[in-house]
C-alpha cells in the first residue's frame, strides 16, 4: 500500500463531524470518564452555598467550580486580614480590608467561566433568622469553621425542610472544622439513594441456573465437528453450561464448593489438548457455577423497607422504581431474580461466538427490561401518576444498575448530639487510636467556644478544657466506661490555634469536594457521616454518629 499523508486520509477539508467532542466535552474529558454526561448534568444544575470563606472553604469550592457546578454563593461578614491572604490562595494583597466574600468570589470565578458566582456580605447567623428561605434555595451547603450554634441551626433548618418526602429536595449539609494538622468533617442528608454506585463488576452470568436460550445454544453446539482452532475458542460460559448439564445428568443435584473438583473433572472431559486456554479460563471461573444467583441482600433490604411498601404519588422515583422492581421479582418470568445484566466480560472466544453470546444476554436483558417497564407502569398508575411519569432513560439506567442500588438513611447533627447512638461507639473507640479522641477533643473545644465566645488557644485554655469541660462531657457521652480523653488530642488541636494550615485546608477541601460530587451526581457511595482527618499521622477514620 502506498504511503499517504494523514490530511489526505482524513476528512481534513470537511467540517468537523458532530461525533467529535466539542470544546466543553474536551474541557471536561477527564472527569466525564468517571461520572459521564448524567453526572455532569447534575453537577451543572447544582447550586452551592459556602459559609465561611477561609482557606478550607475556598479550597473545597475551588474543587467544585473547576468541574463545573451551576452556581455558588459565598456568605461572610468578614473583611480580609493579612493572615487570610497568607493562607487563602483566593485572596491577594489588593484584597486587604475588603469583603472576604466578594474577594474570594472574584478569584474563584476565574477558575471556570461557565460557573456563576455571587457573594453576600452578611452575618450568616443573622441571615438564618431573617431569611431562612434563602438557605433553602441551594442544592448543598458547606459550612466551614462556623460557630457550633450556626452549624446546629443550619442542620435543624434543612432537616425540617425535608421532613416529608414530598417537600423540597433533600439539601445536604457538609460541616467542617479544622485546626493545625487535624480536622473533622460531617455530612448530613436525610436519605441518599444511589442507582449508579460504580461497582467493580456488573456482570450477572447466572451460570448456576442458565436461562433457556443460553442453554439451548450451549447444548446445541456440535463440538465434535469443530477443528482445533474452533474448539479452543469455545467461550468458557458455554463450556460451563455444558459441563453443568452433564454433571446434573450424572446424578448431581447442583455444583457446590464441596464437589467442585468433581465438577471440574466433568468440565475437562471435553478438553482436547492441555493448552486450550478457554478450558483454563473455564476452570478458573468454575466457582461461578457454585455461587448461587439470588436477589442480593442489600436489595432485599430495600424491598423490605416501608418506603418501598407504601409508595404514593409523592414518592421519589427511586422508591417507585424499587417498588416496581419488587413487583417484577414476583412475576413468573423473573424466576424470582432481578433483571439480568446485558454485560458480558471478555473471554477467550471467536468473534462470532462472543458476539452471539453477547446477543443472547442482551436479548434476555431486553426481555427483562420490557417486563420491568410494565411493572413500572402498573406501579405509577396504582399511585395515580401517569404511566410515563418516569423518564425512559431513568428506567433503563435503573435496571442496568439494579444489582447494586444503595440507600443511606442519614442522621442530623441534633440526632448525633441528642440520641444515645454515639455513646457505645465513643466508649469503644476512645481507646482505639487517636481519631475518636480528636472527635471528642473538637467537641470539648466547641463547648469552650460556646462558653467563652472564643476558640481555645493557650496552655491555660488546654488546662481549663481538661479540668472543667472534659469530665462532664465524658460522663455524658462515654457513659459508664472508664475511658479517658487523651490530653494529647486536645493539645494537638489547640496547637493549631483554630487556624488554617494551608496543607490541611487543601486536604480537607479535596475530601469535601469528593463527597460533594458523589452526593450531587448521586453516583458512588458517599461518607456516612463523620470523618476525622489526622495529618499528624496521615490517616483518617470514619464514624456513623
Amino acid at each position: 500500500m502506498e504511503s499517504v499523508t494523514v490530511t489526505e486520509a482524513t476528512t481534513g477539508i470537511e467540517p468537523i463531524p458532530s461525533y467529535r467532542p466539542d470544546e466543553k466535552t474536551r474541557r471536561y474529558d477527564r472527569q466525564l470518564r468517571l461520572w459521564a454526561s448524567a453526572g455532569q448534568k447534575s453537577l451543572e444544575q447544582a447550586r452551592i452555598l459556602l459559609i465561611g470563606a477561609d482557606a478550607t472553604g475556598c479550597q473545597a469550592l475551588k474543587n467544585l467550580v473547576l468541574p463545573g457546578i451551576s452556581h455558588f454563593t459565598v456568605i461572610s461578614d468578614a473583611t480580609v486580614r493579612p493572615r487570610d491572604i497568607a493562607t487563602n490562595f483566593f485572596l491577594v494583597p489588593d484584597s486587604m480590608g475588603l469583603s472576604t466574600a466578594e474577594e474570594t468570589t472574584r478569584h474563584l470565578k476565574e477558575l471556570n467561566p461557565s460557573v456563576e458566582g455571587c457573594s453576600r456580605q452578611a452575618d450568616p447567623l443573622q441571615l438564618l433568622k431573617d431569611e431562612p428561605d434563602f438557605f433553602l434555595s441551594f442544592t448543598m451547603i458547606l459550612s466551614v469553621n462556623s460557630p457550633p450554634e450556626l452549624d446546629l441551626a443550619l442542620s435543624d433548618l434543612i432537616w425540617s425542610a425535608s421532613e416529608n418526602e414530598s417537600m423540597t429536595p433533600d439539601i445536604s449539609l457538609i460541616t467542617v472544622r479544622n485546626s493545625g494538622f487535624v480536622g473533622k468533617m460531617r455530612v448530613q442528608y436525610r436519605q441518599h439513594c444511589i442507582v449508579d454506585t460504580h461497582p467493580d463488576s456488573t456482570h450477572t452470568l447466572r451460570l448456576d441456573r442458565p436461562f433457556q436460550e443460553l442453554k439451548d445454544f450451549a447444548l446445541g453446539l456440535d463440538i465434535n465437528d469443530m477443528d482445533s482452532m474452533e474448539h479452543s475458542h469455545i467461550p468458557y460460559v458455554i463450556l460451563l453450561v455444558r459441563a453443568l448439564e452433564r454433571f446434573k445428568a450424572a446424578g448431581n443435584a447442583e455444583v457446590t464448593y464441596d464437589n467442585m473438583d468433581a465438577f471440574k473433572g466433568t468440565l475437562l472431559t471435553e478438553r482436547r489438548a492441555l493448552d486450550e486456554e478457554n478450558f483454563e479460563e473455564a476452570e478458573s471461573q468454575a466457582f461461578r457455577v457454585a455461587s448461587k444467583t439470588e436477589i442480593p441482600e442489600n436489595i432485599k433490604a430495600l424491598f423490605a423497607s416501608s418506603q418501598c411498601e407504601n409508595v404514593s404519588s409523592s414518592s421519589r422515583n427511586f422508591w417507585l422504581l424499587v417498588h416496581a422492581l419488587k413487583q417484577y421479582t414476583s412475576l413468573p418470568q423473573s424466576e424470582n431474580l432481578l433483571p439480568i445484566s446485558a454485560s458480558l466480560p471478555d473471554m477467550k472466544a471467536s468473534t462470532t461466538d462472543y458476539v452471539h453470546l453477547q446477543n443472547l444476554y442482551k436479548n434476555k436483558a431486553n426481555g427483562d427490561l420490557r417486563a420491568f417497564k410494565e411493572c413500572v407502569k402498573t406501579t405509577l398508575s396504582s399511585v395515580g401518576l401517569d404511566e410515563d411519569a418516569i423518564d425512559d432513560e431513568e428506567v433503563v439506567n435503573f435496571v442496568k444498575n439494579c444489582h447494586s442500588l444503595h440507600c443511606i438513611d442519614g442522621r442530623s447533627l441534633r440526632q448525633e448530639y441528642e440520641t444515645d447512638v454515639r455513646k457505645e461507639l465513643i466508649a469503644n473507640e476512645l481507646s482505639n487510636g487517636m481519631h475518636m479522641n480528636y472527635y471528642l477533643g473538637f467537641e470539648a473545644c466547641e463547648r469552650f467556644y460556646t462558653q467563652n465566645k472564643r476558640w481555645p488557644i493557650s496552655e491555660d485554655d488546654t488546662t481549663s478544657i481538661m479540668e472543667i469541660i472534659v469530665p462532664p462531657l465524658l460522663s455524658e457521652v462515654a457513659g459508664a466506661s472508664d475511658n479517658e480523653l487523651a490530653e494529647s488530642a486536645v493539645k494537638e488541636i489547640i496547637r493549631g490555634g483554630f487556624g488554617c494550615l494551608p496543607t490541611t485546608s487543601a486536604f480537607i477541601g479535596g475530601v469535601v469536594a469528593q463527597e460533594a460530587i458523589k452526593l450531587i451526581t448521586a453516583q458512588y457511595v458517599p461518607l456516612d457521616n463523620t470523618c476525622i482527618i489526622d495529618l499528624v499521622k496521615s490517616t483518617l477514620e470514619k464514624f456513623r454518629l
Binding site: 477527564r30 493545625g180 458523589k518
Partner: protein
Amino acid sequence: MPDRSIISPYLLPDPSESAEEIAQRAATRIAYIKLAPEDKYVDVDRVLDVKGPFADEAFQGGNEAKQFLRNVCKVLVIGAGGLGCEILQNLALMGFNDIHVIDMDTIDISNLNRQFLFRESDVGKSKAVVAAAFIMNRVPGVKVTPYHGKIQDHDETYYSQFQLIVCGLDSIEARRWINATLVQMVDPEDADTVKPLIDGGTEGFKGQARVIIPTVTSCYECSIDMLTPPTTFPICTIANTPRLPEHCIEWASVLEWPKHFKDKKLDNDDPDHIEWLYQKALSRAQEFKIEGVTWSLTQGVVKNIIPAIASTNAIIAASCCNEAFKIATTSNPYLDNYMMYVGNDSLYTFTFEHEKRPECPVCGGETIEFEVKKDTKLERVVEMLTERQDMQIKKPSLSGPNGPLFFQAPKQLYEATKANLEKTVGEILQEGDQLNVTDRALPFTLTLRIKFVA
C-alpha cells in the same frame, strides 16, 4: 503600560488593568511583602512556635524552623500538571520561598478541569512557565524557577542543589529515573546527599502519597510490583478474534497505522490522527458486529487516558506537601512511608510502612535469582522478563559474561544477535552466570543470576 520590571518582575498584568491600577497593585503588594512575618504567617507560625505532643524530641521550632523553611530550603517540584499545580500552591502558602519546577508539557484544554493555574488563553504554552508565573503573581515573596524540559536533561549536580523533591508525575518511567538518580547520589558519609523524595499519584477517586528517603526507606523501585499491570491485548486477538471495541481500536493503531503511514509516527494529540483511527476501528467493529467504538473511547485507548479530577489531586498534593513541611520543620513526624486514599466507596485511607526489597535493583544489595530450565529458548526468556511484575519492562536487551546475547536495537546488533533467540539457555549460559538486562523503561542495568531448575 509602565515598565513592569520596575514594579515587580513577578506581577502579572491583567489585560483589563490600566497603568494606574497596576501601579496600585504593585504598591499594595510591596506593602504586604514588607509586613512583619508575625502579622502574616500567624497560622503556619502557630505549629512552629507551639510544640505538639507528637513532635520529635529534637524539634526546636520557632525561628530556626522558620529560617530554614523560608530562607534556606530549596524544593524541586517535578510535574506542573494536575498534582503539580496543587503542589506549587501548597508549598508557596506553607512558606517554601525557593521553588523550582520542571515539566516538559504544554497546556491542553483537557487540563483546565483541574490544573487551576491555567486559563483558556494559556493553551499551548509551557506548563512550567505559566504555573511559575501564576504562583509568583498570586503569592508575594515566593520565587518559582521554571524549567520547560525533561528531568533527564539535568545531572546530579543539578539535583544536589535541592533539600527536597516533590513529584507529581503520571509517568512510571520518569519516576523510576528520578528515584534511581537520587538513590545513586547518596554518599553514606554525607547526610546532605540524602534528598527526600515525596511522590504522589492519582487515578479517579483514588490516589497515593509516599515518602522515600533514599537508601533508608523502601524506594520507588522496591514497590514496582504493586503497579497494576497495563491492560494489553494479545496480538492474535487483535488480528483475528476481536471481541471488544478496544480490540478494534488497538487493531487500527497498532497494526493498520504503520501499514498505511509507513514511517510516520502516530501523534496521539493530533485530532486528525485520532479521526483516522476512529474511522478504521469503527469500520472493523461494524464488520464484526461489535458495538461501542466511539471517539472518546478511541482517544482513551490510544492515549491511555487516566480519569483525573481536581479534588483527588487536591488531597494527594496536600498530603505530599504536608509531609514536605513536616520534614523541613520537624513539626510532626513524617509519613513512614505510604498512604493510600480511596474515595469511590465512602472513603478510607490505608497508611503503612512499605518495606525495602532486599533484591531491589536500585537500593537493595542482593542479586535477583532468575530460575529457568536449561532447555528454555532465549526467545522465551525475553518473554518471561516482560511478564515479571517486579521488572515492568517491555523490550529488554540481554548480555551475558561474554557480551551481547540479544539486543533489540541498533539494527546491526539486532541482526547480529537475533540468531541466539532460537538457542537454549543451557547452550549460552552457565549456572551462576550474570545476565544483564537493559530496557528503555529501566534507568539502570538489571543484573540477574542464572539458576537452572528441573
